[in-house]
Symmetry: C2
Subunit: 432 residues, 2 copies
């Protein structure tokens, strides 16, 4: 199941010109441990043989951003920018396993990283690629909630908030502690009641198109804007225009996908432009399944602005399976079990299997020459839809009969031309 | 590059009815550390946060057999036997990195495991599947060196060797210490000079077909066979017949692949029937790239006989690249860069790209509207073979011209019908 999902993502990413890279699982701990919150979750590596413990401390990556940053830093001389890559790998987190929280899980990341500058239209492109990737999976509709950090920060500064990051952190808790809780936190941080009201009003704005523009402008006009906020207003305007263009571009490419949602904050210091969260219709409790944003530089030294999105694939699949949204059409690749009449004729069955394989039909030969009823039962238990009975008495090796064990229909067939219906050729992800 | 190789392997395995499973990277150390030799190489996991170190000790798997055994043990109630699976995952070994020896690398394993019994013809099937998988890669011809443990052990017992495992361990060093060294070791282990000569003569036998049968029978007849070796002779005969059938079956399916090589020992206690090693023509120094054998039980409690083979994929690819055997036809998935005439017309270029993608053609839109010469240079540097120039003045959106930047040829084209030559559609592994 996971494999089908990953293959689908790969295909969509590649169609849009994203190349796959894979980085090693292990990085020096100093590099991983930059962020104090995540560092508690890092698995460190030791050696079982005690005497070998002296080497530099290593840890398993807990996301794909840290190793990607190292990759770009190390390979900057030979990469062409803007560099677009996808990366689908396991990440490890030492948290307590619970529903939807694994010790190891797959993430799928796409990023485009520039050298010194990065055109804004790429903020729309990565969102469109991810929206298409999600649409290619048998999922309920995904809604991308978009915001822009310049808009938000310009507004916050406009109403006189100095600790913008601190205020963002509080607003980010809206779902958990409600508007009252956020207001209390803001008050404790020295934000005036008027400013707190204004930024909570801002966070309440959500529109399926560019119509938020009028709302946020009206809000600015009615808010306790401080004197000399011209810079803040310019930043706010720039962010607002950018967000409107982003929402329109995404909806033009993948209709009814994007909404402007002024509440989206996405952490703090990292993002500087577009920020993205994605929820599945009817599965809002799962939280965001695909998040990211635009950042000023991928690497610590600066100079590599980028934009990227990440899907928590294992968590998504776990929910898809758990909620009965999807299942695999069968557990095994084989479309056909070639029966064996008796062990003397095993070679006939093997030759037929090879003829089917030559035309891309996955099959296997019965492990034994039990009664046909038993061989059919074996196929049925494994979920193989067809059983081939070789005509061992015929002069034509390819002659035989093939039974669809779901319908019971059995028809004469030629191993050089017969094929299963297209939907039975390979296991598929099916809804329900 | 690695991705293409893994996809090729997956395709061949699935065509033969092997389903993919994936197990977690982390296992309890007690389970991993069974074998004392490998346990020195196990990476153990800790937590960066000191206070959380009390949990059960975990380690990263160093092969795919240990986690597969756990998987079969845990899922035995719901698996259908014989159970055939492939597994392509990273494994980790804490050895010093050196050429061809990674801290982490991919292995690709196939196994068929029975419940209580496993038909012998599966020993040929797994070898054939692996031979086909290797043949599907752009490699020099691969030779499978096959032996049979019953043949060898019957012979050793026939000439009066009691510590069969010890003698096998010595013969396994033939390449390293030569016949003289092996003879010395055998002498030290109490093996008679006559018996030592006999088993070295046995190890020297290598034939591309079943003709070794006459040679080993003649050798038995001329060797210092001890009295009452009837059981040993029966075991020897059984193994010899089985090996001859195996070599014939593999060569019938994949001509000129298998040789009977009576020197192959493959470790010790584990294998009980067929054993396999594989070398690449001209790259014998790389050692065996695909090895395995038949075993009496996958799990400690017994009852799950199986047969399997494993490819050291990363090591193989590293050699393929290092020796200049192969390269990728291009580094990026895009077959086409759609040029942008000016930023006002970016939407035209995006629409053309989507039309190409709808027909499976990977492409990307130029990140900027620089002069066409610069955009062509950008495509060239990234290895994208074609550049599309939209006819922004035409009424027909799909109209344009496409340039093959290798030949310089530029022709009018329609985005709804033009396609690159098949060999340019996707990046390929090419020889040299």
């Amino acid at each position: 199941m996971e494999v089908h999902v990953l293959d689908t993502l790969r295909e969509v990413f590649a169609l849009h010109g994203f190349g796959e890279i894979e980085t090693r699982s292990v990085e020096p701990v100093e590099r991983l441990a930059g962020d104090s919150e995540a560092s508690k979750e890092i698995y460190t590596l030791g050696r079982l043989a005690e005497e070998e413990r002296k080497e530099a401390k290593l840890g398993l990556h807990f996301d794909l951003t840290v190793p990607f940053a190292r990759y770009v830093e190390e390979n900057q001389g030979r990469l062409q920018f803007p560099f677009r890559r996808y990366q689908i790998q396991k990440v490890w987190r030492g948290e307590r396993p619970q529903e939807g929280r694994f010790r190891e899980f797959y993430q799928a990341d796409i990023d485009v990283v520039g050298r010194d500058q990065l055109p804004e239209h790429l903020e729309a492109e990565v969102a469109i690629v991810m929206a298409r990737a999600l649409a290619a999976l048998p999922l309920p509709p995904a809604r991308m909630h978009l915001n822009n950090r310049a808009l938000v920060e310009g507004f916050y500064r406009g109403v006189g908030i100095e600790d913008v990051a601190g205020a963002l952190r509080s607003v980010d808790k809206l779902d958990k502690i409600g508007a009252g809780g956020v207001r209390d936190e803001l008050h404790a941080k020295g934000v005036s009641a008027g400013a707190a009201d204004a930024i909570l009003e801002l966070a309440a704005i959500q529109t399926p198109d560019g119509s938020f523009l009028d709302l946020v402008e009206a809000l600015w006009d009615h808010s306790p804007v401080v004197e000399g906020a011209d810079d803040a207003r310019a930043e706010f305007d720039r962010g607002a225009r950018s967000l409107a263009a982003l929402v329109d571009a995404v909806n033009a490419a993948v209709p009814e996908t994007a909404v402007a949602d002024l509440r989206i904050a996405r952490g703090l210091d990292y993002y500087t432009g577009a920020v993205y969260e994605t929820v599945l219709d009817g599965h809002e409790d799962l939280g965001s399944i695909c998040s990211g944003g635009r950042y000023d530089s991928l690497v610590a030294g600066g100079g590599f602005p980028g934009v990227g999105l990440s899907i928590g694939v294992s968590r998504l699949i776990s929910r898809m399976l758990g909620a009965g949204l999807v299942s695999a059409s069968r557990a095994v690749p084989s479309a056909v079990l070639v029966a064996v009449t008796d062990e003397r004729h095993r070679g006939v069955s093997t030759a037929i299997a090879d003829r089917l394989r030559a035309r891309g039909i996955a099959c296997e030969v019965s492990p034994n020459a039990a009664k046909f009823g038993k061989q059919i039962q074996y196929a049925d238990r494994r979920g193989i839809p067809f059983v081939w009975f070789p005509a061992t008495e015929s002069a034509e090796l390819a002659d035989g009969e093939v039974k669809d064990i779901r319908s019971g229909d059995q028809v004469p067939a030629d191993a050089d031309s017969w094929a299963p219906p297209a939907e039975d050729l390979k296991p598929r992800i099916v809804r329900g």
